[in-house]
């Protein structure tokens, strides 16, 4: 550092030139105005960031406070009393660990099902011109706009007769239905971006359509498909109403937390909120390059 300070030294003699230049008639006010604007811009950005990030910091703080610190008033907004007591208490409450495992299982199943069922349709929409293609896309858009609540009550009755009520598979099927339209539309946009030429080249060199797809298209499309998988997992992880209606004992984590809201202490709710928020931080971080594609584009 001190070595770097050396070269700055010669700049000093130049300083008196500053006011002299201003006197020589160069109008510096636009520059100053620009600098002020930049500062205001930063200020606004920081203010919005505070609004967005502070709640996450505070729920983290609450989840890592001891029970005693949570009962204190006024609470400290600095991490003075970090403890895992609250989180441990939450994890050891009845049904939390199983519901966490259920959430993961439901999410993974929904990802597998929605991609297995949806990606082929996305490929068809991207690559073939056929009667009913636009109509199918419109159907997909409509289904995406329909509320879960309409779906879950009749599905509950249906699943009871199929013996799928209160099972991981049942909830996963409902989440698949919710994620499928988006998966089809996203994978269609992913496949459209794979150059047709490389696929045709593979076909010309004698690959079967399936081999051309597997060895040429899929490697290029994989990141986009992975992003759509994470999208489905996030949807499944966050979906609470349907999961609460379709299961009583085998609930997912959000359904379990929702179901026990009214008769649980605040510490439980804060720890639950934190447990639900943490994965989303990871998801968004992993997805940061795809955010605009996933949530931004709505139809192509």
């Amino acid at each position: 550092m001190s070595a770097l300070a050396g070269p700055a030294e010669p700049a000093r003699p130049a300083e008196p030139a500053g006011p002299a230049a201003a006197e020589s008639g160069v109008d510096r006010s636009p520059l100053r105005r620009r600098r002020r604007q930049r500062a205001l811009l930063q200020l606004a950005a920081v203010a919005i960031t505070l609004f967005m990030a502070a709640p996450i910091y505070l729920i983290t703080l609450a989840a890592f406070s001891s029970r005693q610190a949570l009962n204190e008033y006024p609470k400290s907004v600095l991490p003075t009393d970090v403890s895992t007591e609250t989180l441990r208490g939450f994890l050891s409450s009845a049904g939390i660990v199983p519901s966490f495992l259920n959430s993961v299982a439901v999410g993974l199943l929904a990802v597998l099902l929605s991609i297995g069922l949806g990606a082929p349709a996305g490929y068809a929409i991207a690559r073939y011109a056929f009667r009913g293609r636009d109509a199918y896309q419109i159907v997909l858009l409509i289904t995406r706009a329909l509320p879960v609540v309409v779906l879950s009550i009749p599905l509950a009755e249906l699943f009871i007769s199929w013996q799928l009520y209160d099972t991981v598979l049942g909830i996963a099927l409902m989440h698949t239905a919710l994620a499928l339209p988006t998966t089809v539309l996203i994978s269609a946009s992913v496949f459209v971006s794979v150059p047709r030429d490389v696929e045709e080249a593979a076909l010309i060199f004698g690959a079967t359509p399936l081999a051309a797809f597997r060895r040429v298209v899929l490697p290029i499309a994989r990141p986009g498909i992975a992003a759509s998988a994470i999208f489905t997992f996030v949807l499944s992880w966050n979906e609470v109403l349907g999961a609460a209606i379709l299961a009583l004992r085998n609930r997912t984590l959000p359904a379990q937390v929702l179901g026990s809201l009214s008769n649980s202490p605040l510490a439980y709710r804060f720890a639950g909120g934190f447990a639900l928020v943490v994965p989303s931080l990871v998801f968004i971080f992993v997805m940061r390059r795809y955010l605009l594609n996933m949530w931004g584009t709505t139809i192509r």
Binding site: P154, L241, L292
Partner: protein, 291 residues
Amino acid sequence: MSSAAGRPGRLRLPTPYLLLIPSALTLAALFGWPMVQGVLAAFRHDGGFSLDNVHRMVSDQRFGSAVRNTLLLIAVVVPLQFVLALAMALLLQARPKFSGLYFYLWAVPLAISDLAAGLVWLSILDDQGYLNSVLHRLGLGDGYSWLSYQHGSTMFLAVVVAEVWRATALVLVILVAGMQVIPRDYDEAAAVFGATFWQRLRYVTLPLLKPSLQVALILRTILAFQTFAVARALTGDNYPLLVGETYQWYLDLQNPGVASAIALLILAISIFTASIYLRALRQPDAIREAR
């Protein structure tokens, strides 16, 4: 689109239909069929057609306030989110330092559920929460019950703040994506000719952003009808919303009929909005081609 249509001859087998069938069947079984059943269940009572469920729905004393709260929440939250998201998108557009980091942090609530958002804000707005703690330390007020049912307006505000915090990110991402495809030349040209910031926003950016605005508006409105866990986490059942009422009727009162009737009402509103959604989507195509 046109490139696919412009290649007749190749690939005219029923292959596309084979590829579509799995997803179409799944949607029919898990979307179409339940939907029909849901409509029927709303009008069925003791085995026959009846409007009993609808009567019970309407005569429930919480129904009126649930409708009112839902509509009021949407009317307040959605415009707020648009103003905020537009400001945020314009800020990012100006490329301040760390804009990448800002975008990441602002987008984080995208993946946060409304239940989690409710619990997060509960830690702040609870009687002994962080907001009251800070106010107390600053000597401002002594423990106001923001979420008490006696204070209807702050209870409403709490739900609004939590929803704005959680769901503005969706609007932001759609608007940022829309702004990226607008050529910067227009804005720069307007600036060269001396247009002020507000003039450029009013006459250049907003008209070009219209397709994204429409999509975001309708998507956000439809999703806003499904809000309920925020209110439940923050206020228990003191702030009834339509979807929350379905939950209540189905799980707590064990009455699938009335629950279906409310669900049908939400469906009707959603279809109404979705039809606008579709009409709005016709426009982006035309605009995209014009570009």
